[in-house]
């Protein structure tokens, strides 16, 4: 029988899920410090997996028009425009006549003020006072894609400091995957590589997995009702190939390999960045003792997880399931045994 630990805490998930002589656990290390936001991962994923388009909508979230991980977007590149110093030695807009930091409601008025000595003088009327005034009182200045969590960025004096963060998000392939644990059909399963895959021939679209995911990754496709997400290219892995996104990634921001190796590499990368004056570099999802037992797809981030839209401290939603099972389990097993008996009997 499984011990309680298999639903929480450090674990090698493939052997735990019954794979004998399983290959090493495979995963992704996404190093956002070298991501150039090209979205090759999004496209390569869709090309390989035949994922439909996710709509032709300008979202205005910087260059992110994908919006989120969905049934039709298994990789999602987030773009965060931020008034913070980056790895640049010189702030990008130092010395430029910029107004207050983005997100500050007062910046509109300053912007309007610049009109007195812009190219419009003499000539066309400068900024429209009424619109400037309207914007300067509004709760959100111009709807800017600041993407900061509430409270961040308001303190900056000017926006001379600026950085543009990019991160390719993906299913985390948790060590303790609640989606899998709650799946009533066995559609979601743990592969021999330790990854978590929805089997499209089994999924009946019940949707339990969707609310179970602590990251909000898994999603139902509207037209067929089934759940879809990153498979870590299960078919390619079987052929000894690299997942499509990692294969395409021009700058090796997405690295694929045995999780142990990736974790070592990631630790080294963080150390290097710290040496080079990027103290904000930190890992996310790498820790086997975290709330999901560590992720099969983990990240190097340059800011708090919330900035990227990631939960700061995800916990497997089935953490307390063993206690519940102790009550329900026996009954279920008895019923299953009865079913087997009936089946065998009926066929002979």
């Amino acid at each position: 029988m499984p011990d309680a630990n298999s639903l929480y805490g450090p674990l090698d998930p493939a052997p735990d899920a019954g794979w004998e002589a399983a290959p090493p656990r495979m995963g992704f290390f996404t190093d956002t410090s070298v991501c150039i936001g090209c979205k090759a991962c999004e496209v390569a994923c869709k090309e390989w997996n035949g994922v439909p388009d996710s709509g032709f909508d300008l979202l205005g979230m910087s260059y992110d028009n994908t919006g989120a991980l969905t049934a039709n977007s298994w990789r999602h590149v987030a773009f965060i425009e931020q008034p913070r110093p980056a790895g640049h030695r010189t702030p990008p807009f130092a010395g430029d006549p910029t107004g207050p930091a983005a997100g500050s409601p007062a910046s509109a008025a300053v912007g309007a003020g610049t009109a007195t000595d812009t190219g419009t003088n003499p000539g066309l009327p400068p900024g429209r006072p009424e619109s400037a005034a309207r914007m300067s009182t509004g709760p959100e200045f111009l709807g800017m894609p600041g993407a900061q969590p509430p409270g961040r960025g308001a303190g900056a004096e000017s926006r001379s400091d600026f950085r543009w963060l990019m991160m390719s998000d993906v299913c985390k392939h948790c060590t303790h995957a609640a989606c899998l644990d709650v799946c009533p059909t066995g559609s979601l399963f743990r592969t021999e590589f330790g990854t978590v895959v929805v089997q499209e021939d089994i999924c009946n679209g019940c949707g339990y997995c969707i609310s179970a995911c602590p990251y909000g990754v898994i999603d139902q496709r509207k037209d067929d009702g089934r759940a879809w997400k990153c498979t870590l290219c299960y078919d390619r892995l079987g052929a000894g190939m690299t997942p499509a996104c990692a294969q395409a990634c021009p700058t090796e921001s997405i690295q694929y390999g045995p999780l142990d190796e990736l974790r070592d590499r990631a630790a080294q990368r963080v150390a290097t960045l710290h040496e080079r004056g990027v103290p904000e570099a930190r890992l996310y999802g790498h820790d086997p003792t975290d709330g999901v037992g560590g992720d099969g797809a983990f990240f190097l981030l340059l800011d708090e997880p919330e900035v990227y839209g990631l939960p700061p401290d995800p916990v497997v939603t089935t953490r307390d399931l063993p206690q519940m099972w102790k009550r329900a389990g026996l009954a279920a097993l008895a019923m299953a045994a009865a079913t087997v008996a009936a089946f065998v009997g009926g066929s002979s």
Binding site: L58, G143, P250
Partner: protein, 882 residues
């Protein structure tokens, strides 16, 4: 680079990993800026001021790589005393002719050579874009020049350069470019610190430099810096042009360009090249050093490849059949001629000028005034459907029932449905294998043009007209295969490579070219791509199985050389400058040049070789003359000829600018190509009045998610969904000034057009403080048009047509506009809005653009500098003419 060439950018990231420092200069903060160590926002169109500042910084602080500069450049060469600089002439060089708007180069020559130049007025050179053919030529200069190795002579190139750039101080850089001094100095320090025996720096540019009315000089300034710092011909150095189409380098080498024949041989000019001999001599410049000395063999072999048996020494290999240039026959002149009804038929081959060329409206109106148009493409692009779906339909300027243009749309084969070579941006040819057959009627261009030629020749078979001989005698027998009779691309590549006429043996090197008709070569610089009868471009030896130069992957011209002028990677004695930077060197024991790459030098010519005085051609190159295509074997810090707008780069304002030139009275490039045509109205710039009607600077470029005019990306859902709508990026400050809301609509107005776009307010755009004013810049992607899965107005519609004089490339990286909140008007009201701006800005249809804006020439030539009118008077004038 990360934005438009992401996979190439991996090598920048590799360099960064090894400690390289990356600077990015761009009007807008891009995905490249996000990864760069330092980003410098710049006012569009001012790069020469920035780079000139770096040149001054190098010279003032004597930070040049002196050994390299002395040995390998023309720094020591003495220039004619007749030369006068922009410093003396308020922004003009000596020899300017205001009548033709061009220079006589005589006074720019080296001392003692003033009479040697064959070129007097250069207006003609401008019209034939001969700057482009000099891309690899080198211009006529004598093999031996007078030099002062101490670099102290007041007229040596080094001192002239120093005086010329003396004004490009950090304060001036800030005034012109809007780049704060400290940031400029950070760039200048880092660049110069990475110079010398142990270190190099690389420079990468793209059409952000070429698409200007002074574009060639931008690149010249970069070359001067890289040469002064000893970064040319060395590993980790150089200047890399990142080109934007799969084979745009190939289509320049084997040019589908009006002024060139394959291998940068010039298309003959009716007056200058009456005979084969005159034509050849104009290329090889008898008496000059370098490999162009063999051009007679290259020229004869090309004509032999064209006309086969009919090309004989007796008939000058059919030279007489070549069409002759009489002036400017470039694409923009053609379009204006279409509007004027002078062109009957037009082929568009994988190109979408309705969206991709400057002044989209002129492009579409031109197409609407043809007899016939043939469009060959994968998709029904805007240029194929202009007669039913273009902005001019809405305005009533094109009425389908009244548009006579007959349109043939022929579906094209894609890159996986045919075989052949692309030449990528580093001159490397890579052969593509065919995967599948093209669908339906889709065919390759190879098929189309081969069979078109076949049909034309069949139709003319009985003709006795002299004009048809060139077609009937054309060597046009290519083997075909398959159900569609597809011509053999390998057979064509063999012809491009060249072969011995008698035996058919493919040539191994262009040194085998003969001028007696015994060799035929389609493009001499590509000779060797079929060396030993093997398709060298098809080589695919894995990078894991060879060294870092990877010489066995594909084939690079010339002679599979990966870095040009690599003799310069060794010191004058032929030793590597340093162990770290060794690349090609002289092996005294073996008595030959050796190294990682194919040496760009005669293999056994020792560093100590000195030519006899009467030598010319390759034999005149000394053992320490690395720049083997140049007439004097040296890299040019100063170009005595060959660059039509000056021997040294000078900052001029863009043709449309909100600013007076802070450096000189001369506002814009005095030699730029201007088309005064009613459709091509250029917004006024200072010192003309009314520039304030178009107060904002706009620039356009690419997004990672799209490709050029969108024909290959707006049609693909995977890409279309990533950037689904036309937008304009504005700073928060400008948004507030104009009243733009994030994700709201704005429209932009120029003297040509009005377009609309969704607004992205972003911190990535910044106002700049320039010459005491604040200048706002906006950025637009130019990918959108009216066809495809995602549509939008075309940014290129905003541009007028003003060209660089050297290469006739248009200024489409900077212009002026106004921006307003809300959507643009539709229908005739749209024309009214543009007309209203034209009236306010004083832009009548017959407006003369003032070229000379300094009174240094005196008298009436100082047009524009003193005739400021009151705005009211000019507005009245405008109304009278509109």
């Amino acid at each position: 680079m990360a934005e438009a060439h992401p996979v190439g950018f991996q090598w920048v990231m590799e360099a960064k990993k090894r400690g390289a420092k990356v600077f990015h200069v761009d009007p807008r903060f891009t995905r490249t800026s996000a990864l760069a160590d330092t980003y410098l926002p710049i006012r569009a169109g001012t790069d020469i001021a920035l780079l000139g500042g770096v040149v001054r910084y190098i010279l003032d602080n004597e930070l040049d790589f002196r050994e390299y500069v002395l040995a390998y450049t023309n720094a020591a060469t003495i220039v004619s005393e007749k030369f006068a600089d922009t410093e003396d002439l308020d922004g003009l060089f000596s020899g300017y002719n205001p009548e033709t708007g061009s220079y006589d180069h005589a006074s720019w020559q080296y001392e003692g050579q003033e009479g040697n130049t064959t070129v007097r007025g250069t207006g003609k050179e401008r019209d034939s874009a001969s700057g482009l053919e000099h891309e690899s030529h080198g211009e006529p200069v004598p093999a031996q020049t007078r030099r002062d190795e101490t670099l102290r002579h007041p007229r040596c190139v080094y001192q002239i350069l120093k005086r010329h750039f003396a004004r490009y101080t950090p304060e001036m850089v800030a005034r012109v470019c809007g780049i704060p001094e400290e940031k400029f100095l950070e760039l200048a320090r880092a660049w110069t610190e990475n110079s010398g025996r142990e270190r190099t720096g690389a420079l990468v540019y793209s059409v952000g430099w070429t698409q200007h009315s002074v574009g060639v000089q931008y690149i010249r300034t970069g070359s001067i810096i890289q040469t002064l710092l000893g970064n040319m011909g060395r590993p980790g150095g150089g200047i890399l042009a990142l080109r934007g189409h799969a084979s745009i380098q190939g289509s320049t080498d084997i040019p589908t360009l009006f002024n060139l024949l394959p291998g940068y041989l010039p298309m003959p000019h009716h007056a200058d090249h009456p005979t084969f001999d005159k034509w050849v001599d104009s290329i090889r410049h008898p008496g000059q050093k370098g490999f162009w000395g063999n051009s007679r063999a290259f020229a004869a072999s090309l004509l032999k490849a064209y006309w086969g048996d009919a090309a004989t020494p007796e008939n000058d290999f059919g030279y007489g059949w070549l069409p002759r240039m009489t002036g400017d026959h470039g694409t923009y002149q053609q379009v204006l001629n279409m509007i004027d009804g002078k062109v009957k038929g037009y082929f568009l081959l994988g190109q979408n000028p309705a969206v991709g060329s400057a002044h989209g409206r002129a492009q579409r109106l031109g197409m609407a005034n043809l007899d016939w148009l043939v469009v060959r493409d994968l998709f029904l692009i805007e240029s194929a459907t202009f007669w039913k779906n273009s902005p001019e339909i809405a305005t009533g300027e094109i009425v389908p029932e009244e548009c006579r243009t007959e349109v043939f749309f022929l579906p094209a084969a894609s890159h996986v449905e045919k075989e052949g070579t692309f030449t990528q941006t580093q001159r490397m040819l890579q052969w593509r294998e065919k995967a599948v057959n093209p669908p339906g009627d889709a065919r390759s261009e190879l098929w189309f043009f081969y069979h078109l030629g076949r049909v034309l020749r069949e139709k003319l078979a009985a003709s006795t007209k002299p004009r048809d001989r060139a077609l009937l005698d054309l060597a046009w027998d290519y083997p075909t295969h398959g159900a569609h009779a597809e011509p053999s691309a390998e057979a064509v590549l063999r012809e491009i490579n060249g072969f011995d006429v008698a035996t058919g043996r493919p040539l191994n090197a262009f040194a085998e070219a003969k001028d007696d008709g015994s060799t035929a070569i389609g493009c001499w610089i590509y000779t060797g791509v079929y060396a030993d009868g093997v398709n060298q471009a098809a080589r695919r030896k894995s990078r894991h199985e060879q060294d870092w130069v990877a010489a066995e992957w594909g084939w690079a011209w010339p002679a599979n050389r990966r870095t040009l002028y690599n003799r310069a990677s060794a010191d004058p004695e032929g030793r590597p400058w340093s162990e770290r930077k060794k690349y090609v060197w002289w092996d005294p024991d073996a008595g030959e040049w050796t190294g990682y790459d194919v040496p760009d030098f005669e293999k056994t010519k020792p560093p100590s070789y000195r030519p006899p005085e009467d030598a010319s051609g390759p034999a005149a190159l000394a053992g320490d003359d690395p720049f083997v295509m140049q007439g004097d074997g040296k890299a040019w810090l100063y170009a005595p000829s060959g660059v039509l707008d000056g021997p040294m780069p000078t900052h001029y304002e863009p043709a449309e600018s909100p600013m007076r030139n802070p450096l000189y009275g001369q506002q814009a490039n005095p030699t730029r190509k201007i088309y005064e045509h009613p459709i091509n109205r250029i917004n006024p710039s200072p010192p003309e009045p009314h520039s304030e009607v178009f107060p904002y600077v706009f620039t356009v470029s690419r997004l990672t998610e799209h490709h050029t005019a969108g024909g290959m990306s707006r049609t693909v859902p995977r890409l279309a969904e990533l950037q689904p709508e036309m937008f304009v990026e504005v700073s928060p400050e400008l948004a507030a000034e104009v009243g733009l809301a994030h994700l709201g609509w704005a429209h932009l107005i120029s003297g040509r057009a009005v377009i609309e776009a969704r607004v992205l307010v972003t911190d990535r755009l910044t106002p700049l403080r320039v010459d005491g004013r604040i200048i706002h810049q906006v950025w637009l992607p130019y990918h959108f048009g009216s066809e495809g899965l995602v549509t939008g107005d075309s940014a290129n519609d905003l541009f007028g047509i003003t060209l660089d004089p050297n290469v006739l490339i248009q200024e489409s990286k900077v212009g002026t506009c106004d921006i307003r909140s809300g959507r643009r008007p539709t229908g005739p009201a749209l024309l009214d809005l543009v007309g209203d701006y034209q009236r306010r800005a004083g832009m009548p249809p017959d407006r003369k653009v003032p070229i000379v804006t300094t009174d240094v020439l005196g008298g009436e030539n100082a047009a524009g500098s003193t005739d400021e009118q009151t705005p009211e008077a000019a507005a009245r004038d405008g109304e009278d003419h509109a």
